[in-house]
């Protein structure tokens, strides 16, 4: 969906610190990148993806940011079976069946 209407569940993005503004403690590779932030909430106005929009978060804050998603979901999963884990159960059951332990 390209467009958010007021009341839609959306995600916004902001740059919190530009590369030169970061903590002196960050390692060099991180120092070259900005500190970015994403927050979700309900749209308070209309906007298209990439436009600035105000939202209300579940904790009651009003946040302004660039609209990055409407009805953002979750895509993490288990992924395909991992062959390196596949044999463990059988090996263990075989060991358990091999007579009783000492003591």
């Amino acid at each position: 969906m390209e467009r958010a209407e007021p009341g839609d569940w959306v995600e916004v993005h902001n740059i919190i610190l530009k590369p030169g503004e970061r903590s002196p403690d960050v390692p060099p590779d991180t120092a070259k990148t900005p500190l970015e932030c994403w927050v979700k909430g309900w749209a308070l106005e209309e906007a298209r993806i990439g436009e600035r929009i105000k939202i209300r978060t579940p904790a009651g804050r009003t946040v302004e940011g660039t609209l990055t998603g409407v009805n953002p979901g979750y895509t993490h999963s288990f992924g395909p079976s991992v062959p390196e884990l596949g044999g463990i159960g059988e090996e263990i059951r075989k060991l358990l069946r091999e007579g009783k332990s000492s003591g």
Binding site: C37, G41, S77, G79, L85, G89
Partner: protein, 476 residues
């Protein structure tokens, strides 16, 4: 007046912001740049064990089952010297409302926030603790913000952390997702200033008091069922709260001969704040990237003095590899019918090797499990490792290289531990104490504090301080 929100300005207001957000004045406990009254702080601000038990029972936290791992114990005995192989028990902390022992830690903070009139709570954490605070806030009717370090600069997130974002949102929390960096705390401070919420810090006395019930229950359950205390309690060690709270609870139960053993996944060589290393880790907690720095200098957190002080309590510190923890997670599912999250199984992996040191009539307790699910599961984590250029194979776990190769054991007998010398942690603690505070001379009171805080003799402290060029005042 508009608040200056630059990194420097927000960090410089850190002390006032934190004290307001905890409703606590640390200055009454602080004795010098080094020393503070630890027990005084825990007593005055903490809650008694009985009170914590009441608070937790109101919200379904604690009193989790202590399960005997019969098949895993049998596997240990089959791969041990005759007569060896202690009985392995696990405290099924996944049975808490949000699925981990962190509910204990969150319960007291959220209760305290509620009874002191805060409208909401905030916690800066990418781990189970966020879900725990969100869950407790939901139960007590408070608003909740969880600040997470979630993504690298490509906007790629560890599956385990992304799952934690989902879980926090499931409990109705606002989740603030950030890219890699220690400025997580800067963002948390800005949000505390903006909202006036309570800081449900992992490291406040409230959080630690909440964990004491875990150690207490372990001792009670072992005595009821087996008529004795455990020889070892193995604790997954990261920021130090789990070790500290559990050990304090064991002591309060009178289990004075039980050894508390910290266990971490060895991630030596990976930088915790590095954008490129971020997604080369398969464990987001319970690893040496937190375990070593927090043991050797606890006061690197969001509170003026950390209530989690693991060196006071840890008898031994042992390391396991990522591949071993994944192996053991699979073994727990297939040998015991318990599907539990990988991070909590760090101490189980260590316990299997440790059980071989003890005779069969002794007990060893693994003091936590955690929930599992999409993202937070060996399958998801190993697929992610492969996508990020980490080799995954079966083999000798000693060939495991953090960030490069995850080697899953070929045999149960290969599960092992590497002992991290306590001596090294203690020396490193003293070195950090001197460097961090910049002290050139110390008082006898400082020496006493340092000795207690690192559990070594005052003579050893004085001798090592001498090597560091620090003068001890008032000493002949």
């Amino acid at each position: 007046m508009v608040r200056d929100l630059s990194y420097k300005a927000v960090m410089s207001r850190r002390k006032e912001t934190m004290e307001k957000a905890l409703g606590m004045d640390y200055s009454e406990f602080i004795r010098s740049p080094l020393a503070f009254d630890y027990e005084g702080m825990m007593e005055k601000v903490g809650y008694s064990l009985e009170r914590v038990r009441t608070i937790q029972s109101e919200v379904g936290v604690g009193n989790t089952p202590l399960l005997e791992l019969r098949n895993i114990t049998e596997l240990v005995r089959k791969t041990s010297r005759p007569g060896m192989g202690a009985r392995i028990l696990v405290k099924d902390e996944a049975a808490n409302p949000s699925g981990s022992f962190k509910d204990r830690r969150a319960s007291v903070s959220v209760y305290h926030a509620k009874t002191h009139g805060y409208r909401g709570v905030l916690a800066a954490t990418s781990g189970n603790y966020g879900a725990a605070v969100a869950s407790q806030a939901a139960i007590r009717g408070l608003d909740c913000i969880i600040v997470q370090e979630t993504f690298d600069s490509r906007h790629v997130g560890q599956p385990e952390i992304v799952e934690k974002s989902r879980k926090c949102e499931a409990f109705g929390a606002e989740v603030v997702q950030l890219t890699v960096g220690p400025e997580l705390f800067y963002v948390a401070l800005m949000l505390l200033e903006e909202t006036g919420f309570f800081n449900a810090s992992l490291y406040s006395p409230f959080g630690i008091a909440g964990i004491e019930t875990l150690g207490y229950e372990v001792a009670q359950q072992c005595r009821e069922r087996y008529g004795k205390d455990p020889s070892y309690v193995v604790v997954t060690h990261a920021g130090g709260g789990n070790v500290t709270g559990t050990a304090r609870g064991l002591r309060k139960a009178g289990a004075l001969n039980t050894k508390v053993i910290g266990a971490s996944v060895d991630l030596t060589g990976l930088h915790m704040a590095s954008d490129t290393d971020f997604n080369k880790k398969s464990f987001t907690t319970g690893h040496t990237g937190f375990g070593v720095p927090f043991a050797t200098w606890p006061d690197r957190t969001d509170v003026p003095r950390n209530a989690a002080r693991p060196l006071r309590y840890m008898d031994r510190y042992v390391l396991v590899t990522q591949g071993e923890v994944f192996y053991v997670t699979q073994a727990l599912a297939e040998a015991e019918g318990l599907e539990r999250g990988p991070a909590g199984n760090t101490s189980l992996a260590a316990a299997i090797a440790l059980a071989r040191e003890l005779p069969q009539d002794e007990l060893i307790v693994v003091q936590e499990t955690e929930y599992t699910g999409a993202g937070k599961h060996p399958q998801a984590q190993l697929n992610f490792a492969k996508q990020n250029g980490v080799a995954v194979r079966r083999g000798d776990p000693r060939e495991n290289v953090p960030g490069k190769a995850i080697v899953i054991p070929e045999e149960f007998s290969q599960l092992h531990i590497t002992e991290f010398p306590m001596e090294k942690l203690k020396k490193s603690y003293l070195k950090n104490a001197v460097e961090r505070t910049g002290v050139k001379e110390v008082t006898p009171e400082d020496v006493k504090f340092l000795a207690e805080d690192s559990r070594q003799s005052e003579d050893d402290v004085v001798s090592y301080l001498g090597e560091l060029g620090v003068k001890v005042l008032g000493k002949a």
